[in-house]
Symmetry: C2
Subunit: 330 residues, 2 copies
Amino acid sequence: MTHPDTIAALVARLRKGDTRALARAISLVENDAPESASLLSACFPHTGSGLRIGITGAPGAGKSTLVDRLARAFRETPEGREANKTVGVIAVDPTSPFTGGAILGDRIRFQDRHGDSGFYARSMATRGSLGGLALATADVALVLEASGKDVLLIETVGVGQDEIEIARLADITVVVLVPGMGDDVQSLKAGVMEIADIFVVNKSDREGADRVEQEIRGLQSLASDHPDHTPPVIRTIATTGDGLDNLATAISEMEEWLRADNRLAKRRTQHWQRRLDAMLRTELMRRARQNGFDAKILQFHAARIASGQQDPWQLVAQLTEKVFSPANSS
Amino acid sequence: MTHPDTIAALVARLRKGDTRALARAISLVENDAPESASLLSACFPHTGSGLRIGITGAPGAGKSTLVDRLARAFRETPEGREANKTVGVIAVDPTSPFTGGAILGDRIRFQDRHGDSGFYARSMATRGSLGGLALATADVALVLEASGKDVLLIETVGVGQDEIEIARLADITVVVLVPGMGDDVQSLKAGVMEIADIFVVNKSDREGADRVEQEIRGLQSLASDHPDHTPPVIRTIATTGDGLDNLATAISEMEEWLRADNRLAKRRTQHWQRRLDAMLRTELMRRARQNGFDAKILQFHAARIASGQQDPWQLVAQLTEKVFSPANSS
């Protein structure tokens, strides 16, 4: 499938709601297939109106259940609130393949939604090198959006650097905490507090909900990526659905705020700047590998460096010189 | 300080035990100063014999105290074991500047070692983009090694991807766990179990030490980066020093095992391959930025992409083509 016509046909099919075409397109993008760039190019004109919501927080905070409830809230039409939106869910698990996969099992509950063409859920694990996962997630979200999904829920399993990068590419970031996280709450929050647009205290019927909220209030005064917006703190019990209406309202209000005064456009420009940087990095490396930076050559040099026969900094200067030199392009 | 003679003078001074020269050299490398590559090049011939020990594990596992004890054990000379080695400590904290810095405070206790020219401790925070920290840590370790340190203890504060990358560049990786980590133990271990050469159950006087050891035994049978070596599990109480002798012995045995059958050379070749890849990536991006990929241009394009006026994949293809084209090098 390398001919542009076939890409166009695939995009036309996924645009019409063909779930198998959508699944295939996502796989191509997730696996970074050679036709990935042209597929994304073909999807790009059909994007821009969807809302990306990132949901992150410590493991065990009940994010999956919350995302499930949130998806239902967007699909159904309660009184007084615009809803009945189409929803795409991406569950990202950047942990190792060995302990990973839990999130995939969780997603089995989504099967009761089979037959609902306005809903699609997909799990993702790692792609390629460090930082590649955030890019891959953004790419998959773009394909989902092109398929006509109004809302994209992007859920990450943990709170590491990868998850922060993923959350940073969302329009709205929801950070989920739970009471009783103990002394580690501080370290888990590192880097995550700053990116929050909305805080959720889930399992809020547990003892300590007040304390968690106080801690959030205390920490959020210290630092934020968005100093012009004070994130609300919403209490939920995802298992019963308590507080989900409040969360949906908070998301709607945040969306309104973002759409006013060009804020969403500014935020997306920042996102695209980060993405462009990562895309360029990836593409440069791909081209460099074709120009003599392949794994075998690196291994040969690495063995010589390890035994002290080759200076790595001189080598890097020589190799990059070779890539950038005119003679190389002949 | 751009003249090679000055670099040579700085390296000569740090080789003679001049702590201020060492501190200055490390700062240059940590800040990725323009003379960083030539400084590292000048240090490189004086490295290769030092042993790098990575210490990682969940926050609150008592790693700092353990590292402190281990440093003492290497500096002092107990009966029956070769010791009195010079020691360098690098404490790496990749958390945000906002919540980070705790580890720096901890390191104040090392001040009682002032005047001991065979000991040097240094804290590090993030450098540059994702993945940059592992590279920076490896670079700082190289400078420390060139200054004549026999043992390099590299301690990370958490268990994220950054920390795993850092630990992967050590010769020996020690993973520290504690009893009573609760349900999150599984998720915290993700990716960390595989890289362990030695497990430590610290605070082993607490209830649950047996259970943690059982969990380690259960998980380690599933996956390891080094299937030919079964990591020992050492119980310690870092605050009292209990079990530290056993840990030191386990490290010595691991070192012997690594030095036999060329295993250390093989492992270091793998490390250099990862490092070379990262170094090339960084250098390519640096050169690309000089060739029109600077932040201002990316921001201009990002705004056009965010408003749907520019296809990012076509743009990336055009920009990389420009970098690789002969005309550009004129």
